[in-house]
Every structure is written in C-alpha cells, then in structure tokens.
Symmetry: C2
Subunit: 166 residues, 2 copies
DNA sequence: ATATAAACGCAACTACGTTGCGAAATATAT
DNA sequence: ATATATTTCGCAACGTAGTTGCGTTTATAT
C-alpha cells in the first residue's frame, strides 16, 4: 500500500498539501462527492476556490473522474486505476489543457437515487459500444447515467432520505 | 398533420399561447436546445421565467425531454412519440408532481460535440450494458451521453465552431 | 355575473462555478 | 546560498442557470 504522496511522486505529479488532503478525502469515500460534500470533510480554513482548482487538476491528471448529476452539480470520485504505470506527465512538463485525460477511459456506469440523491459507481457495468452510432461521429467517451431507487431506498420501509446528498 | 394546438387538445392538455409558441420552436429544431437557444427564437417580450415554467410543464406532460450537457445546462428536445393515444391527463386533473413521466421511456442516446458544443439525439442508439445492474437497485431510466466530435467538426478542414451552442 | 383556479410577469434571490490579481510558496538558475 | 522565475494559494468580485414570492391577468366553473 502506498500513500497518496508516494503515488503522486512516482507518477511525476507534484503533491501539494491541498492536493493530498483532497485526494485523501476522495479516496475514503465509496461514492462520488459533490464540491460541498468534500468541503465539509476538509479543515474549516480550506478555501473553496482552491478546492475547485485542485479538483480541476486532479481531473486533468486522471486521478479522479466526475459525473453530472440530475441536480446540475458535479460529483467527483477517485479512479481505481493505478497511476504509476500510466502517467507520463513530469513535474516540469506542461500539462494538457484538455480535461479529457487518457486514464479516464474506464467509463463505468453511474446510478443516482431519485429518493436520497446519492450517487453510486457501478464499476462492473460498462457501456457496450454499438456500431449504430452514425459514422462521421468520432466517439471519445460514453457516459451512462441510471436513475432509480438505490438499495436503501428501494426497501419498502423507512427509506433513507439524506438531505446532504440532495 | 396536426397543429400543436390540436395535438394538445386531443391529448387533454391545456394549450396556452406560451405553450404553443415554445412547442412550435422546439418542434422545428432537430437538435436539443438550451433555454437560451429557445428564448432567442421567441418574441423579445417573452418572459424567461415563463419559459422555465412552460418547459417544466412540457416535461411533466411528456411533450419534451431534457438532457444534461457537459456545461451543466439542460437541453430540451421534442418527443417524437405521438401524444394522442398515450396521454391521459385531463384539463382539471392534478398533474403528477414528479418530472419522470410515462412517455419518456424512449431513452435514446445523446451525443454532444466537444468542439462546437452542439447536441444530437441518436434516436436509433439504445443502451446496451455489459453487466447486470446490481439487484435491489430499481431502475427507472437509463441515460446515455456520448462525447466526441460531430459530423461537421470531425472533418479535418474548417471545423464548425458555433459559439451559440457552447 | 361572480367565485375559483391556473398561468403570467416582474423582481429578488440562491447555488455552482469562474476570473483577476496580489501574496505566498516552491522550483530553477547562477 | 541568493536571486529569479514559476506555480499555487487566498480573497473578492463576477457570471450564469435556475428558483421563489407575490401581485396581476386570464381562463374555467357555478
């Protein structure tokens, strides 16, 4: 087991205090978190703009991915892929400006509960590429968003309504 | 061929001036439009809040569907299904508060161009998943968002950059 | 014709995210 | 080690999409 710091170093990514803190928070959550969710887990003093920028940076470097929820806010989740053997960016290289990174090809499906608002990564559910997509359209990524009721809320009794994730 | 007004009447939906105007605009567009896009096609005097409310109403009554784009804004598109033989709501019935309506089961895929921002409905592309969604999760709808380059922008020369749809 | 309900128009407001810019921290060169 | 350049950080102000409250207008029911 490596620390976030070590993983960053080995991957050639500059680990700052902020980046490590945010990565730590995201690494511990099994479901995608909103900006707010994350901020709540960070020290009071953590600047919200810095968080936006760190998330941006983690995105472009393939450490995390984000999903658009039904409520028009992004949710962020750590990538389970190992960075070390794929990342080529160096400390002093200019990072790509594009937010689509090479690692983020792992496009699995996401599920958002219509009751409690929580989002889940369905790591095993992948889109099957159909050849129905019109030619001349170049596909970069396929996103699957499933809506319905999650394990907790599907139960007939005492649905879990969590206002934190609305 | 029916007019929007006739279709609404037959479906038991109250057609107001605003609703007909908005429906008219949406019916003429082959791609999903943002709130801004639509507003631009309406008379100057048309109130933006009214537009939001009309869109809401069209949604709950299954006349249109909406898709979340990469830019956190909704895009609206008319449903190709015929309303007349499916809609049961009456003038004086209380409409369902939920925005998931019965007609909107037609979940086809959507494609958003990363270059010009335009969104396309791929009516023939339907969700296909590699694996089964975990039991205990109740699925209401599956949304597929494909990102890449559209017909126009995939061409090597003179990519079509339309700032209106960014 | 009068009462009731739905739709509309306007202003103010909320939430998420972005931009600009100076200060602090970190890296690079001499 | 010191000076210079680059990156990151923190704060304030801004932008945009969408919402809420409320009074007015329009449509429907008796």
């Amino acid at each position: 087991m490596h620390t976030s710091s070590q993983i960053f170093q080995e991957a050639g990514l500059k680990p700052t205090q902020s980046r490590l803190e945010v990565t730590g928070v995201l690494a511990q959550s099994e479901y995608p978190m909103t900006h707010q969710d994350i901020l709540k887990e960070l020290p009071e003093s953590f600047d919200r703009v810095t968080l936006y920028r760190v998330l941006d940076w983690l995105l472009t470097n393939g450490v995390i991915h984000r999903i658009a929820g039904e409520d028009r806010t992004w949710r962020f989740h750590i990538n389970n892929s190992d960075l070390t053997n794929k990342q080529t960016t160096r400390y002093n290289s200019t990072p790509t400006t594009s937010k689509s990174n090479k690692l983020n090809q792992h496009s699995h499906a996401h599920f958002q509960c219509e009751n409690c608002g929580k989002m889940f990564c369905l790591n095993d559910v992948h889109p099957k590429l159909t050849n129905d997509i019109p030619p001349d359209f170049v596909v970069d990524s396929i996103e699957i968003n499933i809506k319905g009721k999650c394990v907790n809320c599907a139960k007939p009794l005492e649905p879990l309504v969590n206002p934190d994730h609305r």
